[in-house]
């Protein structure tokens, strides 16, 4: 098999995992099982991140979603002692279908027809590749080496990007997280 086909097969499998996981969330008979399906869906999306050469993000996805948020949800289910929720959907489900289907159609149409101005670039050459001074000017994260400049790994670049051009957003998110944390504790306390 050609590597091309292999990639496509891998994509199909991962897409199937995420979508079937999502489907499971809405079809499961108990909230608990829903949560397990949700985890499956998250794992599938993490796989898709890997295929998009965003490895760091895949790790984050597994850590935060699969690790933290899912556990949080499971805890909430157990704390509310309402594990066996009603399987049948709310009474407005026909209306919901009427909304969701056109929504799906509209998004799909946009995905197909929009002009995405695709560019064929690679994410980054292998870590440590040496580049010229002109390139280093363009790639602001390049690190000077003895000869020429050296490219750091993607994670290093990401870190620098967060701490320089996105510093403000980074700090704001930090504050939001802190506030949410305090808020969650206050709300959940007696």
């Amino acid at each position: 098999m050609s590597p091309l086909l292999l990639q496509q097969i891998a994509f199909m499998v991962l897409a199937a995992i995420s979508l079937s996981g999502a489907w499971g969330v809405i079809r499961a008979h108990s909230v608990f099982v829903s949560a397990l399906w949700l985890i499956l869906s998250f794992v599938g999306v993490a796989g898709l991140y890997v295929m998009l050469e965003a490895g760091f993000l895949a790790v984050i996805q597994v850590l935060v979603y699969v690790g933290a948020i899912s556990v949080l949800i499971l805890f909430a289910i157990m704390l509310t002692e309402d594990v066996m929720g009603q399987a049948e959907p709310a009474s407005q489900w026909p209306l919901a279908v009427l909304i969701v289907l056109p929504f799906f159609g509209m998004l799909a149409k946009a995905a197909f027809t929009a002009d995405w101005q695709l560019s064929a670039g690679s994410v980054a050459p292998p870590e440590g590749a040496s580049i010229s001074a002109e390139t280093a000017k363009l790639v602001t994260t390049a690190i000077p080496a003895e000869q020429g400049f050296r490219l750091p790994g993607q994670v290093v670049m990401l870190g620098r990007s967060l701490m320089t051009e996105h510093l403000l957003a980074f700090e704001v998110v930090a504050v939001v997280l802190l506030v949410a944390l305090v808020g969650a504790i206050v709300i959940a306390r007696d």
């Binding site: 407005q92 209306l95 909304i99 056109p102 509209m106 701490m163 320089t164 510093l167």
Partner: protein
């Protein structure tokens, strides 16, 4: 000789020791430990700090002498800790040791040590605090409160020392705010007194206005330099960046206003100074801050924190000066504003001080006035003179405040003697405003701070008197005492620039400051005569004992400084004394970080004689009015004969009332004058008014009977008929319409009510439905 590179490395110990003392005292409070122990910890902390900061000054003196700008241009910089690395560069905490910071840090250390020791005795009354609930003496409450005081002042010392040594503006701002916090806590130390709580709030909020400007200034500087380090900003290159920055253009419709960046930055930074150093128009908090314990007034509100604002301008002086081209003959941009504000403050506060009766309030206005001197001096470019005055003033004003504290303490004890027991529980607390029932401007006989309740203390408290005189002579600028040399240097510079170089603003400054010097001598003479001379005016003054040794010895030490410190800055041109002493202060301080050098002025007799004559005149007038019969002036102040002008000054130009009017209308705003006095109309005017109204009334009555009544009756009849018709229409037509509208509305509402289900998912459905419609319409 001491090596700056060695001692500079230990500079972090200076604020470190006091901070450690603060932490230890907090632990003592938390564990319910002894207040005396806490005081010892605080004193030990500040003494250790001083043991580092004084050698640091000596080392800095030794390291002087570089060819191109000396220590100021090549200061010792230490980084203690990288606080926040971001992008290119980091925000650090560190120390910048140059002549300015070394001299100020040593001054702060010595003063804090003296005042801490003084406070151990002064605050001892707190140890016998009453429990609010039971009314009994409760040692636990007393110990905690006594310890709390020392925790606050230790933290304050940390703030001041950290601010002085700071290597960058942001660090300076952090410590600056620590000082503000401690000031708030200490003014409100007796928070159960409503006036103290209000004064604390006022001080905090007023200085906050200035701090906002300061912070904006820092932001602008950071934006332009990408760094807030003094060494970066104040170097030649840094000043150049500031100078060449594109101006800020404000657009008002078709008109536009371009503000040069250097002016904007200067004004913003100076805004912080106006708040912290109590300059006009934000000076109103400082007199009220006297609600705090007297050692706090001496430490924070006379010697150190309030001069932090002046220090800030001195620190940023190269940036301020850059706005004024070096050419002698112009003072422009922020310097102009600085000079004008300083001069106005100096004279305005000095005039207010002549009318106050509270011994601490007189000193508070005097402080504002002297800070105005320093600010004005910086404004006209007399950098060295300003810093010199900053340091000498800190010593003699702290001395005066501590002396006044000793006086208050003595009078209070005298009063208690009168009642047979000697608790010092409510120091200063008795100063809370009279409960009413006293005449408009009469003294409250229970107030131990009112100078009209004093007199003869020269004999009761000799040591306090002699040290107080040393401080007074220094403040009023009598030759050889410290204040004379520093104030004279400011006046000489102003004279030189204003009269000889014909710079208008400097001339203005000279005129106002000279007037203020006269006022200073006058109000200090008034204070000394009322307080220490003549017969005792109350039981408190009659029985006042001399204060405890722990209070008197710091006074003696400070008096020695107030007397001799000026000799480090004697002008070299003064025949005899000048060449012998060689003006080491000027040689040490006379450089900027840009390498600029302040030349010593050519000595001239004229300004020096002028300032001596003016001070002597002030004393003479003070003696003529107050000195010859202190008993009589205590009964009624002769200046009260000036009437409205005196009242305006007594009410502090009514600025508080103006602010109250503008900011909020709050009857609680403290007003000392009795409002009913002003509102009482003059009897003669009243009589004339009554006669006029009477005549007008008679005329009016006739018109009323003949014309108006007829018209009214006619209108009444017509109205009755019209009302009948109207009533019928109302009942049968209008009501029906109204009911119809109500009915229709009710039915519609009943239908609409169904939409509000209270279920979040229904709402979400509507949201997405709307989104679908919107996006659909947009795409199609």
């Amino acid at each position: 000789m001491l090596d700056l590179n060695v001692i500079g490395g230990y500079a972090w110990l200076i604020p470190g020791f006091t901070f450690a003392a603060f932490v230890v005292i907090m632990a003592i409070i938390a564990t319910g430990g002894s207040g005396r122990l806490a005081a010892r910890v605080a004193v030990a902390g500040i003494l250790l700090s001083t043991l580092v900061s004084v050698p640091l000054l000596l080392a800095a003196l030794g390291a002087e002498g570089g060819e191109h700008g000396g220590l100021a241009a090549e200061p010792f910089v230490a980084t203690w800790w990288s606080w926040l690395p971001m992008g290119e560069g980091t925000l650090d905490f560190g120390a910048l040791i140059d002549p300015l910071s070394a001299a100020t840090a040593a001054m702060v250390g010595i003063l804090c040590s003296a005042i801490f020791i003084y406070a151990t005795a002064y605050m001892a009354g707190e140890l016998e605090a009453y429990d609010d609930a039971s009314g009994a003496v409760d040692p636990a409450v007393g110990n905690a409160r006594y310890a709390r005081f020392f925790a606050y002042v230790s933290l304050f010392a940390t703030g001041m020392l950290g601010f002085v040594l700071a290597s960058n503006l942001l660090q300076a701002m952090v410590f600056w705010e620590i000082m503000g916090l401690c000031s708030f806590l200490l003014i409100g130390f007796w928070y159960f007194k409503p006036s103290a709580a209000a004064a604390a709030k006022k001080a905090f909020l007023t200085t906050r206005i200035g701090d906002l400007f300061f912070f904006v200034g820092i932001m602008i500087l950071f934006w332009m330099h990408g760094s807030v380090d003094y060494t970066t900003m104040l170097s030649h290159a840094g000043i150049g960046v500031l100078h060449d920055a594109a101006p800020l253009v404000l657009q008002f419709g078709p008109a536009s206003l371009a503000i040069p960046m250097i002016l904007l930055v200067g004004l913003m930074i100076f805004g912080g100074t106006v708040g912290k150093s109590a300059q006009f128009p934000l000076h109103v908090w400082l007199p009220d801050a006297m609600e705090g314990p007297t050692p706090v007034s001496a430490l924070i509100h006379a010697a150190t924190m309030v001069s932090a604002g002046v220090f800030l301008v001195a620190r940023m002086y190269p940036a301020f000066a850059a706005a004024t081209p070096d050419a002698p003959g112009s003072i422009s941009g922020p310097m102009f504003v600085v000079a004008a504000i300083g001069a106005i403050t100096a004279l305005g506060a000095a005039t207010i001080a002549t009318t106050q009766f509270d011994i601490k309030r007189v000193l508070a206005y005097s402080t504002i006035s002297q800070l105005g001197y320093m600010v004005a001096a910086l404004g006209i470019g007399a950098y060295v003179a300003a810093v010199f005055h900053l340091i000498t003033h800190a010593f003699f004003k702290a001395l005066l405040f501590l002396g006044s504290g000793s006086v208050i303490h003595g009078v209070e004890h005298g009063m208690h003697h009168d009642h047979g027991h000697g608790h010092g529980h409510d120091h200063d607390a008795a100063a809370s405003a009279p409960a009413g029932g006293y005449g408009a401007y009469a003294a409250d006989p229970r107030d131990p701070q009112d100078m009209r309740n004093m007199g003869n203390l020269r004999e009761r408290m000799p040591l306090t008197f002699w040290t107080y005189m040393a401080g007074t002579l220094a403040l009023t600028g009598i030759p050889v005492w410290a204040g004379f040399w520093s104030k004279d240097e400011i006046l000489a510079e102003a004279f030189h620039k204003g009269i000889q170089s014909q710079i208008v603003i400097a001339g203005f400054v000279w005129l106002l400051l000279t007037l203020a010097a006269f006022m200073t001598a006058f109000y200090m003479a008034r204070q000394v005569f009322m307080t220490f001379f003549g017969p005792p005016a109350s039981e408190g003054a009659r029985h006042a004992p001399e204060s405890a040794p722990a209070m008197v010895y710091p006074l003696v030490v400070l008096a020695i400084f107030a007397t001799l410190l000026g000799f480090v800055g004697v002008p070299e041109g003064l025949p005899g004394l000048g060449p012998a002493l060689g003006n080491p202060f000027h040689h040490f301080m006379g450089y900027l970080s840009t390498g600029a050098h302040f030349e010593s002025l050519e000595f001239s007799w004229l300004p020096m004689l002028a300032s001596v004559v003016v001070a002597a005149l002030g004393w003479l007038v003070g003696w003529l009015i107050y000195g010859r019969d202190p008993a009589a002036v205590r009964a009624q102040d002769p200046l009260q004969r000036l009437g409205g002008a005196w009242k305006l000054l007594y009410d502090k130009y009514r600025l508080d009332e103006l602010y109250g009017l503008v900011v909020r209308s709050d009857p609680r705003i403290h007003r000392e004058s009795d409002a009913s006095e002003a509102d009482k109309p003059n009897a003669e005017q009243l009589g004339r008014l009554v006669a006029l109204v009477d005549a007008f009334g008679t005329l009016n009555g006739q018109i009323d009977k003949l014309v108006v009544d007829g018209l009214v009756n006619l209108a009444g009849r017509a109205g009755e008929v019209f009302s009948r018709v109207n009533g019928w229409i109302d009942a049968n037509v209008v009501d029906a319409l109204v009911n119809l509208v109500a009915y229709v509305n009710g039915e519609i509402s009943r239908g609409l009510k169904l939409l509000q289900t209270g279920r979040v998912q229904n709402y979400l459905l509507v949201v997405f439905f709307s989104l679908l419609i919107l996006v659909g319409a947009f795409v199609m």
